[in-house]
Symmetry: D2
Subunit: 433 residues, 4 copies
C-alpha cells in the first residue's frame, strides 16, 4: 500500500472544528498555523486543517444552514467562500493559503463532504473531462442525514470516478496535504460508503500528490476493518468526541476493539483533542465558549490513551489561547516518543475500571499506561510478568520526567478517579544499578 508512506507515524496537527465549527476564517487559520510553527513544530506537529463548509459564505457557527447556495466552480466543485478566505479570490482556491502554510514548514489539510453538491445536481452542471452532468452521477438514494450540501455519487455511473478525479486534481493544484472526508465511514442512514471510499482512494493515487486520507465520522464498523486499513490513513473509531467524561470513558473500549489494526500508515482515530479554548463559535458537544471542561487529570488521561494507542493527535482548541498547562500537554518529548515510536500496543487487563495498556519500542523499552477510570481512588497495579518482562526494569514517569527506581515484580500506583500514569520501563541489566 503505497499511501502508507505518507503517514508512517500517526499524524499530528490542528483542526478548526472544536473552536470555530463551520465558520473558521483565513486569519484564524493563519494565526493558528503561526503558533504551531513557533511552538509545536519542533515536537512533530505539522498539519493545519480547515474543517467543514469553507464553501459556505454564511456559515457562522457549527449549525449548518440547510439548502443554502454554496460557492462552486463551473465543474460542480465547491470553492472557498471568498468573504471568509480572501486569498481565494479570482478562482485561486486554497492555493495561496496552502502556500502560506507550506512556507511556515507545515502541511495543509481540508475537510470535504462525500459526494456532489445538491445544487450542482439540480442545475445539472458539468463534470470536468466528461460529457455527463452532475445529475447523471448523483446517487438517487444517498444523502447525509445531518447536512444538506451534497448527494452521494453512484460508482456505477459513467463519470463518477471522473468527478472524484477532478476534485483531487484541483486539491493537488492547491497543494493540499491532508483530506478529511466526512459522512463516509459511518453514515447514520446507510452504513459505510465503501464504494465512495474506493473511488476517493483511486482519485488520490492518481492525483500525483501525497495526501493523507482521514475518514469520518465514526464509529467506523469493525466489520469493514480491511477496507479502512487498505484505503485510508486514519478513520474514526467514534462519533464526534467532546470534553465529556462519558465519551472519554467509552474510548477505552473502542481502543481495545481496534488495537490489532493499528500500524504504519493506517491509524484508527480517537478524534480531535478538545483541549484549551474551544467552543468559540462551535455549539456542538453541549458547550459554549470555554476552556475545556476536562479536569487536568482527565486531560492527561486522554493524552495518555491517545498516545499509547497511537491515535492521530489533532488539537481542537484555539492554539493562540493556550495556557502553559495546555501547551505542556503537547510538548513533552518523552511522552511523544511513545506516540511516534511505540508499537504493539495492547490492553494488558481491565478489571473494575482499572485499565493497563502497554507498548514497546525498538530499543527494548516498554511503556506502561495505567488508568483509574473508576470513581474512587485506588491502587492500580500490574506485574512485570503480565507485561511480558522477564527481569527487573528501571522505571520512569514520563509526564513528570522523573525516575522511579528499579522495579522487580510489579508496578503499583495509587490513582485518583480519572487519573493515570505513563511509565517507561528500561532494561536494568548492566546499567550498574
Amino acid at each position: 500500500m503505497h499511501h502508507y508512506q505518507w503517514a508512517k507515524t500517526p499524524p499530528m496537527g490542528w483542526n478548526s472544528w472544536d473552536c470555530y465549527g463551520a465558520s473558521v476564517t483565513e486569519d484564524e487559520v493563519k494565526g493558528n498555523a503561526e503558533y504551531m510553527a513557533k511552538y509545536l513544530k519542533p515536537f512533530g506537529w505539522e498539519y493545519v486543517v480547515v474543517d467543514i463548509q469553507w464553501y459556505e459564505p454564511g456559515a457562522n457557527s457549527s449549525i449548518y444552514r440547510p439548502f443554502v447556495p454554496l460557492e462552486m466552480d463551473e465543474y460542480s466543485r465547491l470553492m472557498p467562500a471568498v468573504n471568509r478566505f480572501p486569498s481565494a479570490k479570482g478562482g485561486k482556491g486554497f492555493k495561496p493559503l496552502a502556500d502560506y502554510i507550506h512556507n511556515l514548514g507545515l502541511k495543509f489539510g481540508i475537510h470535504i463532504m462525500r459526494g456532489i453538491p445538491r445544487q450542482a445536481v439540480h442545475q445539472n452542471t458539468p463534470i470536468l473531462g466528461t460529457n455527463v452532468g452532475a445529475r447523471d452521477i448523483a446517487d438517487t438514494n444517498s444523502i447525509c442525514p445531518w447536512n444538506t450540501d451534497m448527494y452521494g455519487v453512484d460508482h456505477r455511473k459513467e463519470g463518477a470516478q471522473a468527478y472524484y478525479d477532478s476534485l483531487f486534481q484541483l486539491y493537488a493544484q492547491w497543494g493540499v496535504d491532508f483530506v478529511k472526508v466526512d459522512d463516509i465511514a459511518a453514515s447514520k442512514l446507510y452504513g459505510t460508503h465503501t464504494e465512495e471510499i474506493k473511488m476517493i482512494r483511486k482519485a488520490i493515487d492518481r492525483c500525483g500528490r501525497p495526501m493523507v486520507l482521514s475518514l469520518s465520522p465514526g464509529p467506523a464498523p469493525l466489520d469493514h476493518a480491511t477496507l479502512f486499513v487498505e484505503n485510508a490513513n486514519m478513520w474514526r473509531m467514534t462519533d464526534d468526541f467532546w470534553d465529556r467524561w462519558e465519551l472519554l470513558y467509552d474510548m477505552f473500549e473502542r481502543c481495545y476493539k481496534w488495537c490489532k489494526l493499528v500500524g504504519p500508515g493506517h491509524w484508527p482515530d480517537a478524534d480531535m483533542l478538545p483541549l484549551g479554548h474551544i467552543g468559540i463559535r462551535s455549539v456542538d458537544g453541549g458547550g459554549t465558549d470555554r476552556m475545556t471542561r476536562f479536569t487536568k487529570d482527565e486531560q492527561r488521561t486522554m493524552m495518555t490513551l491517545w498516545i499509547i494507542f497511537r491515535s492521530p493527535l489533532m488539537f481542537g482548541g484555539e492554539l493562540r489561547d493556550n495556557d502553559e498547562w495546555t501547551l505542556s500537554l503537547l510538548t513533552n518529548e518523552e511522552v511523544l516518543h511513545v506516540h511516534q515510536n511505540g508499537y504493539g500496543a495492547r490492553q494488558v487487563y481491565r478489571e473494575n475500571d482499572h485499565v493497563v495498556w502497554t507498548s514497546q519500542d525498538a530499543e527494548g523499552n516498554q511503556f506502561v499506561a495505567m488508568f483509574n477510570i473508576s470513581e474512587k481512588r485506588s491502587v492500580v497495579s500490574v506485574s512485570l510478568k503480565d507485561l511480558g518482562c522477564m527481569e527487573p526494569m528501571k522505571a520512569r514517569d514520563l509526564w513528570a520526567k522523573e525516575d522511579l527506581g528499579l522495579v522487580k515484580h510489579q508496578l503499583a500506583f495509587e490513582l485518583g478517579p480519572h487519573q493515570s500514569i505513563l511509565v517507561k520501563l528500561s532494561p536494568a541489566v548492566g546499567k550498574g544499578l
Copy 2:
C-alpha cells in the same frame, strides 16, 4: 372519526399504475373511466385514480427520471403536466378532468408523494398564506429512497401544516375524492412518517371536501396500527403487489396479521389487482406488456382473499382490454356482496397450506373461503363447529352461483394447487328442506 363516513365499505376502483406506470395520459384516464361507468359502476366500482408523477412532463414508463424539473405553481405545489393532461392548461389543474369523471357518476383520485418538491426547496419558493419559503419547512433528513421528487416536511417548523393545508385546499378546488399518499406508511429509510400522516389528516379535515385517504407503500408496521386506523381510510399491508404467486402466497399471512384492525372506514389494503392487460408502460414487477401472469385459479384465489378479508379493490389493468373472464371477476354480485356486507373476517385455521377464512353478514349468512395454497391437489375441509355454526346450513358456491345442498357437519372440497372456493352458508331452519 368523522372521515370513517367516507369509506364505510372498502373502496373499489381503478388505478393507472399497473398498466401505465408513471406515464398515464388524460385520454387513457378518460377511456378507463368511461368503461367503468358503463360496465362496472352498477357493481359498486367508483374511483378512478391517477397514480404517481402526473406532474412530470417527461415520464414515459414506471422508471423515474431523477432530479428533473417538475411542473409547479408559484406556491411550491406540483401541477399536472399539460403535455400529458391538456385540460389542465392555464393553471386549471385537475379540475376539468375531475368534472369529466364526476359527470360519469364516478369519483376522482390522485396520487401524491409525501413532502415538498426538492426544486421548491432549493429555489426557496413561497408557501401559500405564510411568510416562509419551502426551504424553511423542508426536513433536512427526509428523502424518499426510490424517487427524487420531494423532501419531507418537518412538522416542527412554522408553515409546515400551512403547506399541507394549501395542497388539500387546491385538491378540494379541483374536486378530488381520493388521495393516495406515497412514501409514508413504510419508508424504507426511516420507518413510518407518523407526523406527516397527522398533518395530512388535519389538512383533509380542514379542506371542506370528503377525500378518502390511502397510505403507501407497505408493509405498514403493525406497531403503528392505532395511527393507521385513526388517521387513514386504507393503508398498505404489503410492498407493491404484482402477478407473482409468491406475493399472493405471502398475502395470506399479511391478512391474518391485520384482520383484527379491519372495520368501517379503516381498511388494511392488499394493493391493486394486477389483472387483465398490464405492464403496458410499466416495467415494475418483473414483467412487460402482458395479460396477467396469474392463472385463472390464482386470479380467483386472489379475488376471494381480497373479498373475504375486505381489502379495497383497485383494478390495475387497462379496463378497455378486459376479456370476458376478467370482467366476470369484477361483476359477480353474489361475491361482491361478501366484500360489501361481510364482517368479522377471521382465519379459521391454516395447516399444511390449507387455509380457511370465514365472515358473516347481518342477515345470518356465513361466508367461507377455502384455499389450497400448497403445491398439490388435496381435500380442504372445515367443520361447522369450527366455523361456529350450531346447525345444518344450506351451502352455495358463490363464484359458480350454484347451490351445493345441505351441510350437516363439514364442508370439504378437492382443490387443485392455488385453487379456492367461496361458499355461502345460510340457515336451513324452517326452510322446508
Copy 3:
C-alpha cells in the same frame, strides 16, 4: 370464540407476586381471599391468583433458586409444595384451596411457566396417556432466560399436545378458573412462543372448565396481535410493572398502541397494580418491604388509565394491610362503572405530555380522562368537538363524585405534575338545565 364468554369484562382480582414474590403460602392466600370476599367482592373483584413457583418448597423471595428439585407428580406435572400449601397433601393439589375460595364466592387462579420441568426431561418421566416420556417432547432449544424450572415443549413432537392436555385436565379437577402462563408472550430469547400458545388454547378448550387465559410477560409484540386476540383473554403490554413513575409514564404509549385491540373477552393487560403494602418478600422492582412508592396523584393516574383503557385490574399488595385511601381506589363504583361498561376507548390527543382519553357507555354517557404527565403544573383542556360531542353536556368528577355543571365548549382543569381527572359527560338535553 367461545372463551370470550369467560371474560366479557376485564378481569379484576388479586395476585400474590407484588407482595410475596415466589413464596406465598396457603394462609396468606386465604387471608387475602377473605378480605376480598368481605370488602371488594361487591365491587366486582373476584380472582385470587397464586403466582409463580408454588411447586418450589424452598422459595422464599422473588429470587429463584436455580436448578433445585421441584414437587412433581408421576406424570411430569408440577404439584403444590406441601410445606407451603398444607391442604395439598396426599396428592390433592390445589383442590382444597380452590374449594375454599369458591366457598367465599370467588374464583381461583394459578400461574404456570410454559413448558415441562427440566427435571422431568432429564429423568425422562412419563406423559399421561401416551407412550412417550418428557425427553421426547422437550424442545431442545427452548429455555426461559430468567428461570430454570422448565424446557419448552415442541409442538411437532408426538405427545406434546397430550402433555398440555394432561396439565389442564388436572387444573380442571382442582377447580382452577384462571391461568397466568409465563415466559410465553414475549420471551426475551426467542420472541413469542406462538405454537405453545395455541397448544394451551386447545388444552383449555378441551378440559371442560372455563378458565381465563392470561399471557406473560410483555411487552407482547403487536406483530402477533391476531394471535393474542384470538387465543388469550389477556396478555401483557409491558414487562413487569412496578411503582416507578417512568414505568407509568411509558404505559400511556403502550395503551395508545394497543387500544384498537381491546374488546369483550380479549384485554391487553397493563399488569398488576403495585398499590398498598408490597415488597414483603418480593425484591423485584428495586424496592423492599414498603407502602407503594407512587404518590396519591400517581396512584389515581394509574387507576384512571387502567380504567379508561379497560386493562384487567389485579391488585398486587397485601390486601389486609390496606389503608382507607388504598381501599378507596378499589371501591368507587362510579369509577368502576367506566371500567366495566365503557367501550371504544381512544386517546383524543397527546401534546406536551398532556394526554386526554375518552370512552363511552351504551346509555349515551361519555367518559373523559385527562392527564398531566409532564413535570409542571398546567391547564389540560379538551373541546367537546374533539371528543365528538355535538351539544352541551353535564359533567361529573367521578373520583370526587361531584357534579361540575354544564359544559358548553370545553373541559379544562389545572393539574399538577402526574395528576389526572376522570370526568363523566352526560347529555344535558331535556334535563331542565
Copy 4:
C-alpha cells in the same frame, strides 16, 4: 502472548467430523493417525482431532440424541465412552489414545462443548478442588441452541474458573495438544461468549502443557477481533463448511474481511476441508456417504484460498480412502510452502468475480492466487504494478510445478468457472535470463 508459540504456522491435521459426525471410534481414529504418520507427516500434517460427543455412548451419526445420559467422572467432567474408546476403560480417559498418537510422531486433539454437563448441574455433582457443586456455577441463561449436553458456566460464580482449571488439568494429564471448543465463538442465541473464552485461556495457561486453542462455530464477529486474536490460536470465520459451491464462494468475502488479523499464533479459520470420502456417518451439509461433491477445479480453488490466506488446514475425509488426486492436494510441497511461509496476504482486487490474492515470503518471492469464481470462462489478469512488483519476475505454476517464464507487465490466465491458479513470482534480476 506466550501461546502464540504453539502455533507459529497455521495448524494442519485431521478431524473426524466430516466423515463420522459425533460417532467416531478409537479404531477409526487410530487408522487415520496411522495413515497420516505414513503419508502426510513429512509434509507438515500433525494433529489428529476427535470431534464432538466422544462422551456419548449412543452417538451414531451427526444427529445428537437430546438429554441422554453422558459418561462423566465424579467431578462433573465428561469422559470418553468406553464402548467407543475401549482404551479409556478404568478411568484412563484419552491417555492411552494420546500416547498411541504421540508414538506415531503426531499430536492429539479433542473437541469440547463450552460449559458444564446439564446432568451434573441437575445432580449437583462436585467441582474438583472446591466446596461448590455444578449447580452453583452453571449460568442460568446459557444453553447451546443445537445440542443439549451442557449449560454455560457463569464467570462471576466462585468455582467457575476452578471448573475449567480442572478440565484442562485432566486434558494435560491425558496429553492433549489441541482443543477445539464449540458453541463459544458465535453462539446463535447469545453472541460471543467472551468470558468463557477468557476462563479457558487462563485454564490452558495454567495447565502446564501447550495446547492449541481452536474456537467454534462461526461466523465469529469481527467486533470481537481483539478478543479472538489475544486468546485463541484459531477461530472460525464461518458456520460449518461443506462441499457446496455457495459456501466456498462466500469464503472469499470472509477471508477478505479477516485478512488483517492473520499472524503467527492467531489464525482465522475457514473450517475443515470436506475432501475425499466424507459423510460416512455424518448427515450434515445435506449429503450422505460420498466422495466430496466439489469438482477438481473447486477442490484446488478451495485449497488455494486456504493456503494463500493461511487458514488452518484440517482434513475432513476418511484418510484411508484417499485416491491419488486427493492425496496430491495434501502433499505438494511447493504449494504448502506458501501456507507455511507466506505472509501479508491481501486481496489485490475483486471485480466481476475475478479475484486475485497475493502474499510473499522472506526470500523475496511473491505468491499470486488468481481465481475465476464467476460462472463463465474468462481471462483473469493482474499487473505487476498492482502486485507491488517493480521489475520483471520469473513465474512458476505451483500446483503444476511448471515454470511459466518471465513476466514483464502482467499475469493473465484463461480460467474456467470456479477454476484458479497459484503462481510463484521470483526476482529475475541477475539470474541470467
